[in-house]
């Protein structure tokens, strides 16, 4: 391919974008809200644990207890540091917003989808799995306890490693019809017998049993199974001010327009606790729904982590029939909303793990 430019209509967009970026950066640099912060914070290495030297104030007081680390965003209303992550994370800067409360650090990173070089590397690692359409492979949500060197992270690579490399048994709604008609046509076309068999077996729905990646420097710090444990819904339902919030998609594939398979993570940090929800949502049109939820609840003062894992599954038709008449004009719109769908699925399995330091 010849990339030589011949004079013609059009301008080179790279220059336009650079100019826009430069202008945006200038404007941001002039933002009075940013200049109120200490310059020290701007130079903090965002990868290192922010040191939690902030004086412990009386428990319950919001001011001074948490520490925010993120150079690019508007000010936190509580401590006037910047906390809320930028919606777009393709700047050249390493942008890893984080918040620290006592020994706990919650951090997130949002990056664009993998480029082709990264995709090739991932293909080597993940073997016969055909990679999903969108992989946000450099994004993560992480909660760590700096004192005990304990860390639980949600990322795309480990989620994909939990996808089974075997036939899922699920077929799109029209698969039988399709194969039958191909078999009839076979003698007229280029197909030999072998090409009507599925080439590579992997779970094309990308159903993952991923519950997060645990990294503990001390091997005794593992989560222990205790299904009797429950999440304190009363505490979580309270409208405590949210000090840090982020949400992101790790993996998404539209199954060649046969539905959707998506792994997304949300995190919110309040003064006394944090909650992470990692959700796998699958819709195969005309076939089924699955929602696998992993909730990680951290109680900062008790140094306690509860991880609850719930699997929901349901038949497509029975869920579709539950949407009420109000949506009948566009019945499929509601099926994109995993929060609505999960209420109409049945719980297949629940597990709970706990760790306390």
């Amino acid at each position: 391919m010849d990339s030589r430019r011949v004079p013609g209509p059009g301008i080179n967009i790279v220059q336009v974008n650079q100019a826009r970026e430069a202008f945006a950066r200038t404007v941001r640099a002039r933002d009075p809200r940013l200049s109120s912060q200490s310059s020290a914070q701007l130079t903090t290495d965002s990868n290192a644990f922010p040191d939690t030297t902030t004086a412990m104030s009386s428990p319950g007081a919001i001011k001074g207890r948490h520490r925010c680390g993120n150079p690019n965003n508007p000010a936190c209303p509580h401590c006037s540091a910047v906390i809320i992550p930028a919606p777009r994370a393709s700047l050249p800067l390493e942008d890893t917003p984080s918040i620290s409360v006592e020994d706990w650090v919650v951090s997130t990173r949002k990056k664009p989808i993998l480029n082709s070089r990264e995709l090739e590397e991932w293909e080597q690692v993940l073997g016969p799995l055909t990679l999903p359409e969108m992989i946000f492979g450099n994004s993560f949500v992480r909660v760590e306890n700096a004192k005990h060197g304990w860390c639980l992270e949600f990322n795309a690579l480990d989620a994909l490693k939990s996808v089974k490399l075997e036939d899922s048994g699920i077929r799109v709604s029209y698969a039988n019809k399709w194969i039958d008609s191909k078999k009839k046509q076979q003698r007229h076309s280029d197909l030999d017998d072998r090409s009507l068999e599925i080439g590579q077996h992997y779970d094309w729905t990308y159903t993952t049993h991923y519950k997060g990646t645990l990294k503990a420097s001390n091997p005794i710090h593992t989560l222990t199974r205790d299904d009797a444990e429950v999440l304190p819904l009363d505490k979580l339902a309270r409208p405590d001010p949210i000090l840090f919030y982020d949400e992101m998609v790790l993996i998404e594939d539209e199954l060649a327009d046969n539905g959707i398979s998506v792994v997304s993570v949300k995190v919110r940090v309040m003064n006394e606790r944090a909650l992470i929800l990692c959700r796998f949502f699958l819709r195969v049109d005309g076939v089924l729904f699955r929602v696998y939820d992993t909730r990680v609840y951290v109680e900062f003062d008790e140094n306690k982590v509860v991880r609850e894992y719930k699997k929901y599954e349901g038949d497509y038709k029975s869920v579709l029939s539950k949407q009420n008449a109000g949506h009948s004009r566009d019945p499929k719109a509601i099926l994109r909303d995993s929060n609505w769908v999960v209420q109409h699925l049945s719980l297949v399995k629940r597990e709970c793990d706990v760790i306390q330091f």
Partner: protein, 350 residues
């Protein structure tokens, strides 16, 4: 309404009245019905891949690549769904095609279909923007049935939305397809808009074995649809006297992706796809059959308005993006920055 008046409205992001749209669709159908399944055009032409309702990026493309009719455009399909401005995008393309029929060519993508648009947003968007019944959506999707399937540039560059089909060895076999219908699940027409190349060369060079099956057609593990390998492409090109295939249909971070040493190239023209992928996009400027340039670009600044609202492209949120401030606000102004920071989405999820 006159076509130039329609263009004026559409270029500033306004919708056309329902009656006008219906008349336009009807007119275009009359034109398209006369076209063959395979259209022949010649360079210079600029090839545009998937747009998916990212209207501001379409306007950006006209900025970068030159306005119609000064530049010839070939669009490879997937104009609607997923993005928030499918109606604006397809309306503009329809009017451009009517106004400059020899300058603009529109191929059919897999999203130009009744079934797919009901699941991926275009149907909902038509209802939201035109209210009432699904008349506008019907009128658009009826038009989609008339869009052509393939295009050949300078008698040797084969352009299609998806890829090859085991039912198509020669281009004449495409010419005899009855295309005036909903895209079927199955058969040559489906494969042309659905299939994907499967490049196994990466693994071949490593372990040294090239299995015959991976260079031919393979059934996807979903149980329907094909992937096509290198030998299929070589055979097709040789048999039909073509030199390369240009297609769209698959997202790629760099805006384009080259397969089989350049025999097949994917062009992707929806930057920051779904307003959150962060990918680049490109348009392919073909000067003649041997000289071309991938003009790579990023999302239009207007899209950042949507981003800062932390857009989750679900139907329920749609209307809030269509207030008057969109398109007029200066996104770099302090007022805008402050407003968007305060609107940033925080959710008490459980």
């Amino acid at each position: 309404m006159e076509l130039d008046r329609c263009l004026e409205l559409l270029y500033v992001g306004q919708l056309l009245p329902e009656a006008t749209l219906k008349a336009l669709c009807f007119k275009l159908k009359e034109k398209l019905v006369k076209e063959s399944n395979v259209v022949h055009i010649s360079t210079p032409v600029t090839v545009v891949g998937d747009l998916h309702g990212q209207f501001h990026d379409l306007l950006e493309i006209f900025q970068i690549g030159g306005a119609v009719p000064n530049t010839n455009y070939l669009f490879l399909g997937d104009y609607v769904d997923r993005g928030l401005y499918s109606v604006e995008t397809i309306s503009l393309l329809i009017v451009l095609k009517l106004r400059y029929p020899s300058r603009v060519h529109l191929l059919r993508g897999n999203h130009e279909s009744r079934q797919i648009t009901q699941s991926y947003g275009f149907y909902s968007e038509c209802l939201n923007k035109y209210g009432g019944g699904s008349g506008v959506w019907q009128c658009f999707t009826d038009l989609f049935d008339y869009l052509v399937l393939c295009c050949i540039i300078d008698n040797e560059l084969f352009c299609v939305h998806g890829g090859l089909s085991p039912n198509v060895q020669t281009i004449d076999q495409i010419r005899i397809i009855d295309r005036f219908r909903e895209i079927p699940h199955d058969g040559a027409m489906a494969d042309l808009v659905w299939s994907d190349p499967e490049d196994s060369s990466a693994s071949d060079s490593n372990d040294g074995r090239s299995t015959a099956s991976t260079t031919h057609f393979q059934v996807s593990p979903r149980g329907a649809g094909f992937t096509f390998g290198r030998s299929v492409v070589e055979k097709f090109l040789q048999l039909n006297g073509m030199s390369r295939i240009y297609r769209a249909h698959q997202l790629c971070n760099e805006g384009y992706q080259v397969y089989f040493g350049g025999l097949v190239t994917t062009v992707w023209s929806a930057p920051n796809y779904c307003y959150r992928c962060g990918n680049k996009a490109s348009i392919l400027e073909l000067y003649d059959k041997d000289h071309s340039f991938f003009n790579v670009f990023e999302e239009a600044p207007e899209n950042k308005l949507l981003n800062s609202n932390s857009a989750t492209a679900t139907g329920g949120f749609l209307h809030e993006y269509f207030d008057d401030s969109v398109g007029t606000a200066d996104i770099f102004s302090d007022e805008y920055q402050v407003a968007s920071a305060s609107k940033r989405h925080v959710e008490y999820f459980l």
